[in-house]
Symmetry: C3
Subunit: 139 residues, 3 copies
């Protein structure tokens, strides 16, 4: 067994962005030569998240609509008093969704559904340069 | 170290179902012969999720009650306009909970709490045939 | 490749507590001697959760404020009827956030952001003695 490390670098749009990184993760796994194991997909930073989704235009609006119910844009966040910033909602949303996922690797491929893509979710109020760390382990 | 792959196949009920798969995951880990490592439990598809819960009848109602607050059944989802379907809430809920978890394997067993079970959550509006992928890695 | 197992034991405060365990996880990874792999951080029990956050005093209030929207303290939980207890909200919140995360290990270190800490979230209504299991795998 071995471990192969990589990174994806992305530029995001502010106030909800969602980028399909399935192709990049799949290609990295294929190039690693690992046929059986797992790949961990983990975003550096506390105002972004990683999950899977059916990646289609409707979800680009439906997901932020639900996030508004959980951590509304107009609420009075204590985080703003600490730092004089405006992204309290971003931190709360990122923590509740989580920074990463681990996906099985079987026969060198990811067993995703036909309408299931791996995405980076940008939750910050500013555009960001993001680094997603990829860690493939297996044999 | 080695990796052993498996699958659990399940038939679910629509509009929230929760199936305790702890026994199946534990048995698979035991049969793998791996004593120290991890098991990744990952559901194929974008309208289901995996987590842990105290599996008891009350939670079968309490969890969907909270999911109604996050992504209500009666809301006007953009996803429905894309596909003419009715499961926009299902996709949003699945993405926010997440498709999988990774659990340590210690002495060939899972260090779960006495009232902590691994569950597949069905979030779709139709009954589904689900595949949960199990990936055990370790020595 | 090898796997090294450990535990963190913590005493928590009731009705939302959040403890920064980044230092303990990082030290455990360093002492394991593993330079390239992953560490799984998993809490035993069904009323606590693990994630990453910018750990600062404001978040100690902002996160529970959002959790009140998802699973309010005053709601009428079926879980209470099952057991005669008062922590239905705790279980729902823990299941939706999730019991653990897996973080890459690169060069013997965790690739966290400067303002991204690993935390145990106590969601129960009583103070608890918690065990967080650490599983480092790699080479």
């Amino acid at each position: 067994m071995k471990t192969v490390s990589g990174e994806i670098r992305l530029r995001t749009k502010p106030d909800f962005d969602m980028l399909d990184i399935t192709g990049q993760v799949s290609m990295f796994v294929a190039e690693s030569g690992i046929k059986s194991g797992t790949v961990t997909v983990f975003v550096v930073g506390s105002t972004a998240a990683v999950s899977t989704v059916e990646f289609e235009p409707g979800m680009m609006k439906d997901i932020p609509a639900s996030l508004e119910k959980i951590a509304p844009s107009g609420a009075d966040y204590e985080h703003h008093k600490t730092w004089g910033c405006d992204n309290g909602k971003s931190h709360v949303r990122a923590t509740l969704i989580g920074p990463g996922i681990t996906v099985p690797v079987i026969g060198g491929k990811l067993p995703l559904g036909a309408w299931q893509q791996i995405v980076l979710m940008e939750l910050d109020t500013k555009p960001r340069d993001r680094t997603v760390v990829l860690q493939v382990s297996g044999e």
